[in-house]
Structure formats: structure tokens, C-alpha cells
């Protein structure tokens, strides 16, 4: 299973990861994607997550080919 993982804004700078592709043997959750992609760093307060550009929670299931994104609270407008 191959998952594309993206980080944005202050989170991208803190983790020093822009984008990473991870491989997993079995289906998992967004939380497990975070742990694998960040080497189990602590989850920031107010972390936002999306799968394929739709907001989801940390317990949401991830399937092969998904794009998972992590980012801080948004500040547009």
C-alpha cells in the first residue's frame, strides 16, 4: 500500500517535510500515517487532516493510493 503524505505551512517547516511517500503492508488510519511519516512525533494541538483533499479525522481509514495531508489551523481570507 502506497500513500502520498503532504505537510503545509508551519507544520511543514517544523517537521522539515514537504511531501513523502510511505509504504505500508496493511490498511491503517490517518493516525498511523502520521506516525509512520513523522517517526511518531507528538500530534500538535489543532492538527487538521485531509484525505484526497477532503477533511477527515485521525481515525479515518486510509487506502492504497490515497493522498493524506496534515496542516495547522487555516488563516486565509
Amino acid at each position: 500500500m502506497s500513500i502520498q503524505v503532504k505537510f503545509f505551512a508551519s507544520l511543514r517547516e517544523q517537521l522539515q517535510i514537504d511531501e513523502i511517500q510511505i509504504q505500508a503492508d496493511q490498511a491503517g488510519t490517518v493516525m498511523q500515517v502520521w506516525q509512520q511519516a513523522t517517526n511518531s512525533q507528538a500530534i500538535p494541538a489543532n492538527l487538521l487532516c485531509a484525505i484526497n483533499m477532503e477533511y477527515v479525522g485521525l481515525e479515518h481509514a486510509v487506502v492504497d493510493g490515497d493522498e493524506v495531508a496534515f496542516f495547522p489551523p487555516v488563516t486565509g481570507g
Binding site: K6, V74, G76
Partner: protein, 144 residues
Amino acid sequence: MVVQIRNEPFDAYAEVQIMQDSLEQQGKFGATSVFVGTMRDFNEDESVQSMFLEHYPGMTEKYLTQISQQAKQNWPIIDSLIIHRVGQIEPGDSIVLVAVWAAHRAAAYDANRYLMEELKSRAPFWKKEQLNDGQRWVEKNTPS
């Protein structure tokens, strides 16, 4: 229904006029509500020199299209326009434009504000301010 992300400065009121002139339903809209967000030269008591606006390409357009469709379901509006800047922004530049055309004013006002509140609370944009002595990420938007 138009949603655009722009890398360059745009003339907000000229954009409203261009879209309005292109509407098929000329003579049908009695009410237009327009909101323009402009970059200020200070924030939280500090002078701001400029700003970088990062976004999540693809998700921003998808999200803004979704809320535009939702607005059209929630209110009897004729059309809507959202333009949002990204990249390097200077004080006085327009950051966001939301315009809504409707037959009557309540729908125009309500749908416009709905779009701005949804955009502010959920659209994946992030502001980084350049101050006199460094830079900082804006941590959160005000709720209203």
C-alpha cells in the same frame, strides 16, 4: 459560479464588474453583495511589511467550489464569485474577493457572509507575515 486562485495582484472591483457584465440574467439581479479583504500594514500591534500566502493547490479550489455550491443550495442566489490571492502580498493588496448576485438583498448578504465565514474557517490557506525583525505564521483566524 466562479472560483479562482491568483498569484498576481487583482483589481477586485474591476473583477466584479467583468463577472457582472458576463451574467446571462441581466435585469434579474436586484442585489449584489461584495466583500473584499485587503492586506493591512499592521496586525496584533506589530507593523507588517509583507506577507506570504501559502495554500494547498487542488484542495483550496475543491473546497471553495463546494461552499459555492452549498450557498446556491441554501439561498436563492443567481451567481457567485470567489477570488483569492496566494504568494507574496504587499499591504493594500486585495487578498480575497467574494461577490454574490441575487434578486433580493437578504440572500445576497447572507450567502456572501456564509462564503466568507466558511472560507475563513476551513479553506486551506496560511499566512506568514514579514515583520521588521523576522517573520511569523499567523496562528488562527478570528471567528467572525
